[in-house]
């Protein structure tokens, strides 16, 4: 069976500090990978997606970037965090473009102070 991991679970960072959130998927190969953010009281917003190693597409211009150095690893980064980057960050995977269902990790709660 497939498993998706995210870490850390919670993070408190000062404004201007860097960020690195990691996501890994087990039990499948060549998944589509996604980063979402849920701001307080809002739905989930797609930030980045990747259909293969080194292939990153951005949905929303922002202070963040993403990378996919390995097939089942997806990293969300920032060089300098803003207060507005606070939120709940979720990684998700799907099998391929023909499959609509996406499966989410446990999430990372980021608070920028």
């Amino acid at each position: 069976s497939q498993t998706i991991h995210q870490w850390p679970a919670t993070l408190v960072q000062p404004v201007g500090s860097p960020l690195s959130l990691e996501c890994t998927v087990e039990g499948t190969s060549n998944p589509n990978l996604y980063w979402y953010r849920q701001a307080a009281g809002r739905g989930l917003q797609l930030l980045f997606y990747s259909v293969g190693i080194g292939q990153i597409s951005s949905e929303v211009p922002q202070n963040l970037s993403a990378s996919r150095p390995q097939d089942r690893q997806f990293i969300l980064s920032s060089k300098k965090l803003l207060l507005s980057d606070s939120g709940f960050y979720l990684c998700a995977w799907s099998r391929d473009r023909r499959i609509y269902e996406q499966y989410f990790g446990p999430g990372t709660r980021l608070t920028v102070t």
Binding site: N32, G43, L44, Q45, Y49, V51, R97, Q102
Partner: protein, 114 residues
């Protein structure tokens, strides 16, 4: 521009009764719809989905109905159980380059009262 809307932020239902959660969308290009359930501090869990070519899909206690002309879908849970208390998100899918983008509603918090 909110393409997927859940106009009820919360819903309270008695245990054993039917829960009906509603969702409206504006983009007629959406071709697949999904419902997710989310507990606090956890990632959403996939519940049930429906293709735009169908009007009903059933899985155990969960049934999703799609009315394309009204651009409306609903999730029925019957009978409702205390473990169903969670936030429910509807999502609509549109194609990207090699992937599918899910557009989520704001969520509805369902509380099942014993």
């Amino acid at each position: 521009d909110q393409q997927v809307k859940q106009n009820s932020p919360s819903l309270s239902v008695q245990e054993g009764r039917i829960s009906i959660l509603n969702c409206d969308y504006t983009n007629s290009m959406f071709d697949y719809f999904l419902w997710y359930k989310k507990y606090p501090a956890e990632g959403p869990t996939f519940l049930i989905s429906i293709s735009s070519i169908k009007d009903k899909n059933e899985d155990g206690r969960f049934t999703v109905f799609l009315n394309k002309s009204a651009k409306h879908l609903s999730l029925h849970i019957v009978p409702s159980q205390p473990g169903d208390s969670a936030v429910y998100f509807c999502a609509a899918s549109e194609g990207l380059q090699g992937a599918q983008k899910l557009v989520f509603g704001q969520g509805t918090r369902l509380t099942i009262n014993p």
